[in-house]
């Protein structure tokens, strides 16, 4: 509503998989007003400069999930972020890229087959017998409903997925969006496939254990759903239900807890040995020596204990929901 404007340099990623060998950038000098969103900027490129500029968009108010792109590397839902807010972070040159340049069909439009394949992999629907002519609804308490914890607000824009570094290095990893979807149903008291869903997510590499807990997904999500929190909840549910398998990821979680319980602080060397086994740990010897020299790890007999060990142990006891035996 204000007349305040800024002169911006907008660089847009251009690529047509049919005609271009390599992508390139087009530069547009634009006078942008305070109320204009990144989507408005893209519309103006298309409508005022070059009609062949291509991107997905529909609802224009942050609910359909079509227009996710990256601006100066930051995951952005184009119809939710104002150009001025991004100028505050990045200055007056904005670079608009597709979510994943390697998957570009044309300009901002990418092939999302990988994203939807992950979506399909988590049984993304309520598993229950459907009463076709119900006269009463299921009774669900407000507390039970809240366990879903906004996971049903996910709009499948892919901002988290295409920002996840674990997906970058391991394309098989389920990734945050599909795991949020899994939690949406695994938190639902009406669903009958909680165990089944968790079982499929136990596979190393493809399942849910490759999350490196970097919080990129929480940072990227335009709906503030906090995917990593849902991933953690799936991990916890796995332990609560006693479905955890004896593998390196689970041992890493268990070993972490034991280390804290025993010392009040993390014994990094022992955690690696415990997670990967006596033989597996051998391949880390070069790192271990480097870490030892810097004082990051110590010999087992020198492992210090926290001053507040008793208090920490009590906390662990109170908060732990995991069901697994002492080693």
């Amino acid at each position: 509503m204000s007349n305040e404007t800024k002169k911006l340099t907008v660089k847009a990623f251009r690529f047509n998989k049919d005609t271009d060998y390599l992508p390139y950038y087009d530069t547009f000098e634009m006078e942008v007003s305070k109320d204009e969103l990144i989507l408005d900027v893209m519309n103006r490129i298309k409508w005022e400069h070059d009609g062949s500029f291509s991107y997905r968009r529909s609802c224009r108010h942050g609910i359909c999930g079509s227009c996710a792109v990256k601006v100066n590397g930051k995951a952005t839902l184009a119809c939710k972020d104002r150009a001025f807010d991004l100028v505050d972070i990045f200055g007056e040159e904005l670079i608009i890229d597709p979510q994943d340049k390697r998957r570009a069909y044309k300009d901002m439009v990418i092939d999302k087959a990988d994203f939807w394949k992950k979506y399909d992999s988590v049984q993304p629907y309520l598993v229950a017998d459907i009463d076709e002519n119900p006269t009463e609804e299921n009774l669900v308490s407000i507390e039970e409903n809240e366990k879903i914890d906004e996971a049903d607000l996910c709009i499948q824009c892919g901002a988290c997925y295409y920002s996840c570094p674990a997906v970058q290095v391991n394309p098989n990893f389920t990734g945050p969006a599909a795991l949020v979807k899994a939690w949406r149903f695994n938190a639902d008291v009406r669903d009958n496939a909680h165990d089944e869903r968790l079982e499929t997510l136990q596979e190393l590499g493809s399942g849910m254990w490759d999350c490196v807990k970097c919080f990129e997904c929480a940072e990227a999500c335009p709906k503030e759903i906090n995917p990593i929190d849902k991933i953690t909840k799936l991990h916890q549910q796995t332990f609560e239900k006693g479905l955890a398998r004896n593998n390196v990821a689970v041992r890493h979680a268990v070993g972490f807890k034991w280390s804290i319980q025993k010392h009040g602080i993390l014994d990094e060397g022992e955690l690696v040995r415990y997670s990967e086994g006596n033989i597996g740990v051998m391949k880390h010897i070069p790192e271990a020596i480097a870490m030892f020299k810097k004082g990051k790890i110590v010999m087992p007999w020198n492992m210090p204990k926290s001053k507040n060990l008793e208090e920490i142990q009590k906390l662990v006891e109170i908060t732990s929901t995991a069901k697994f035996g002492r080693r």
Binding site: M1, N16, K17, D18, T19, D35, L37, K46, W47, E48, D50, G51, S52, S54, Y55, R56, R57, S58, C59, R60, H61, G62, I63, C64, G65, S66, K80, R82, Y105, K106, V109, P124, Y125, L126, A128, I130, D131, E132, N133, P134, T135, E136, E137, N138, L139, V140, S141, I142, N145, I148, D152, L153, I155, Q156, F185, D188, R190, D191
Partner: protein
């Protein structure tokens, strides 16, 4: 010419609530079903529905009351048999969606919670915070997917194959690579949503270009009651993006620049909770008389601050977020700026209660169905009540799906082979747009269309403004023959798509204007300054308009189905 032909029992165009619900029912009955959408199903505009979905659940409420409110809301133009069917089916429909997984907000006793909405005598809008459509769309899509419906996303349907009174399939092209194909089916259903994009200030998604209406009309089939376009009272000033009626339902108050709560003047009993057309006119009137707020005096304020942060955060979180994004206004701290915005199309493809598309006032097209916003059954008549659109889409989507199943099981529809020659005309049209080398550009023509429709065929209409717009549209249609698009490539050609969509908007807009010129009365959302009252003697009837090959329109009228609810003056 070779062109792939895919065969199914049922082809559905549009993957919003109506399309997904119909597809789910047909697939669950064992039919082969393909749903074509120009978006991904989860991007459909049903997902943008915010406030709620009506059902008379509570002890204080009844189906009859829901019916009455809907009939009255429609300004008596709604067909009462269809309204009864929908209102009676509402409780089961919503519980069915709940059983399939919809995450409704709950009351203390664990039941589906309900809130008040405009024009309703009882709180009957079931809701999921302020994102009711999102959970419903996702849920129905998920279950359709679970039941084996084949979804083809990002396919643009550009025509129907219509021969000898029967629809045999559709012509579509894949947006990704522009490959054309035919989808040949026993039954074709249109569930393509609304057409708000024809107006400059609108609440609609970019996708809501009413393609189906013009596709149908170009075959000489009628469109019904097109003059009835709902303007929602509370669009965000400037952009028109919607602030749900839930804002008024939860207690929002409207103020003009003088700080007057002006609804006291226009609807002394219901105030802000009067019907949408009433509130939209009130807001527009205040602005026209110079009592608008802000530098340009082009909006009014809705004040929600008295509701408190807790209620706003728990029940209206998305709305708060929208006002912050678009206006920089936090509704917890200050009133927010709103004005009327084109929102919903009451009219559309005429069909009976079971979704059969009408050939004229008496006969039907074989193998052709419609449901949801693109259809006109008519349950909304001259004005739709809040939280009845999601109900219509879900109820009639499901019901028409079942009706298709019944028709196919009874062998009422034959499969007719489609031929490549059936789609030559549409392919030539597309090619002409792609290769056109004139000097008209799509964005300019579209701006002119949208500006003209908002100026001349908006909240207040006069004979003069409408005649101006009729000429504008003729001019735009002629100039469209002379367009040139920048994008000549085969890959994801949105330039071509926007051109085709514009041609659709120009065609159906002529129906809106024509119906409005001929309807010399004011009823529901249609308001004529020269004829400010309802005229039941002459206009208690549905408009049915047809377009011939040269673009000339002709209109006849169809009786309204009346019932228990007798005609009365409509006051709130």
């Amino acid at each position: 010419m070779s062109i792939p032909i895919h065969k199914y029992d049922v082809v559905i165009v549009g993957a919003g609530l109506a399309g997904c619900a119909a597809a789910r029912e047909a697939a669950a009955a064992g039919l082969s079903v393909c749903v074509l959408t120009k978006l991904h199903p989860l991007r459909s505009h049903s997902g943008a529905a915010q406030g709620g979905i009506n059902a008379a659940f509570s002890d204080e409420d009844s189906t009859e009351l829901h019916e009455f409110d809907t009939v009255k809301g429609s300004d008596y133009l709604g067909d009462q048999d269809a309204i009864r069917l929908m209102c009676e089916g509402a409780p089961e429909t919503i519980r069915w969606a709940e059983k399939m997984g919809a995450v409704f907000s709950r009351s203390e006793d664990g039941k589906i919670a309900q809130r008040p909405f405009g024009g309703q005598s009882s709180p009957r809008a079931c809701y999921a915070k302020d994102r009711t459509g999102l959970t419903l769309l996702h849920t129905i899509f998920e279950q359709a997917d679970r039941d084996g419906v084949e979804f083809k996303d990002e396919y643009y349907v550009a025509d129907i194959i219509y021969k000898d009174g029967k629809v045999n399939g559709v012509f579509a092209y894949n947006l990704v690579d522009n490959e054309p194909m035919i989808f040949n089916a026993k039954a074709v259903m249109f569930a393509t949503g609304g057409y708000g994009r024809a107006f400059r200030i609108n609440s609609n998604a970019h996708a809501n270009t009413g393609d189906a209406l013009s596709i149908v009309a170009r075959h000489g089939l009628p469109l019904e009651d097109m003059e009835f376009v709902q303007f929602h009272p509370t669009g965000i000033a400037g952009s028109g993006v919607l602030i749900s009626e839930a804002a008024r339902g939860e207690g929002g108050k409207l103020f003009n620049s003088k700080g007057e709560r002006f609804m006291e003047k226009y609807a002394p009993n219901k105030l802000e909770l009067a019907s949408r057309d009433v509130v939209s006119r009130a807001i527009t009137q205040e602005i026209l008389e110079g009592r608008g707020c802000g530098e340009n005096k082009d909006h009014v304020h809705i004040d929600l601050t008295h509701l408190g942060a807790d209620l706003i955060n728990s029940k209206l979180p998305e709305l708060r977020d929208l006002a912050i994004t678009f206006l920089g206004q936090d509704m917890i701290e200050e009133p927010i700026s709103i004005a009327a915005t084109a929102h919903y199309s009451m009219g559309g493809i005429p069909c009976d209660m079971d979704g059969h598309v009408r050939l004229d006032t008496k006969n039907f097209v074989d193998g052709f169905y419609a449901a949801g916003e693109c259809a006109c059954v008519s349950v909304h008549g001259a004005n739709r009540l809040g939280a009845n659109s999601v109900l219509e889409a879900l109820f009639f989507g499901r019901h028409v799906g079942q009706s298709i199943v019944a028709d196919l099981k009874a062998n009422k529809i034959d499969f007719k082979e489609a031929n490549p020659s059936d789609v030559k005309a549409v392919m030539d049209r597309l090619e002409a747009i792609k290769t056109g080398n004139g000097d008209e550009r799509i964005p300019e023509l579209r701006n002119e269309l949208q500006d003209g429709m908002t100026e001349n065929a908006g909240v207040f209409r006069t004979e003069k403004s409408l005649l101006v717009q009729r000429e504008n549209l003729k001019d735009l249609k002629a100039r469209f023959q002379n367009v040139r698009i920048d994008d000549k490539s085969k890959i994801y050609n949105t330039d071509l798509q926007e051109a085709v969509e514009l041609s659709h908007m120009i065609d159906f807009s002529a129906f809106i204007v024509e119906g409005a010129i001929l309807r010399k009365e004011s009823r529901g959302a249609h308001y004529r300054e020269e004829y400010q009252t309802r005229d039941d003697e002459n206009f208690l009837k549905h408009t049915m308009t047809y377009m011939d090959k040269d673009g000339n329109l002709s209109t006849e009228y169809m009786d309204v189905v009346l019932g228990n609810h007798e005609l009365a003056e409509r006051t709130y």
